[in-house]
Assembly symmetry: C2
Homo-oligomer: 109 residues x 2
DNA sequence: AACATATATATGAATAATCGAATATGCTAA
DNA sequence: TTAGCATATTCGATTATTCATATATATGTT
């Protein structure tokens, strides 16, 4: 596999590598939502969510549609959702170790 | 979905978010390899590859087995390979845009 | 024991990601 | 036009990643 493709994949994973961006994709699982709706559901700062949406847009993981005042986002390809589902399976398969890792992470704060 | 799970997923994707680590996982797709074999196949610095192996180990994406002088690595759970396969499918589905993004990435150097 | 080989780790410098605050843009309504 | 709402962008400080260099550890060999 050429190195350019590896770099592209890495950039893609990088785009998924943030809890807020995962949360956004979960919200979009069942269809499109306006930016405002996402912000409200996540209960986070408008600018912050908008920055994360920009990252997802930049990698074409989500697409947007303007409707008057608002911008509606959706996941471009359901394969993305499949990836997240596989991850959930993975998480359940290794639940105890995953929890240990999380505790470890907590301890380091 | 609890925030802990989102953080876990994010950490996982973060671990995949580097071209060298993707390359390592590709090498391990067909079974275990010694650290030295991976280093040789990638043609990179020993210390650098070892650092990346440490990242993958830290997230339990790979496991290792010591045999005398050497350390053999393998992918812990075939689900990981499934994720990579899904990603490949994704890239093929969006190949032309992916290539455009790559050109973009190149231009920024 | 001394030495070689395989692998891991520590350190520091360069680069990139993140967040909040402030500001900008674009659309709609009056 | 002005005002107001929805969303995006810029800026700067903080924190995290990455790489190369140097060093450490562990095993094997003589």
């Amino acid at each position: 596999m050429p190195d350019t493709l590896r770099r592209f994949k890495a950039e893609f994973f990088q785009a998924l590598a943030h809890p807020t961006r995962i949360a956004i994709l979960e919200q979009l699982r069942d269809g499109e939502l306006s930016a405002g709706a996402i912000i409200e559901k996540l209960g986070m700062e408008q600018a912050n969510v908008s920055q994360h949406l920009a990252v997802l847009r930049g990698k074409q993981i989500v697409v947007n549609r303007k409707a008057g005042n608002q911008v509606f986002y959706s996941v471009r390809d359901p394969l993305i959702i499949e990836v997240l589902d596989l991850m959930r399976k993975y998480f359940h398969a290794h639940l105890s170790e995953a929890l240990a890792m999380l505790e470890e992470m907590e301890a380091h704060r």
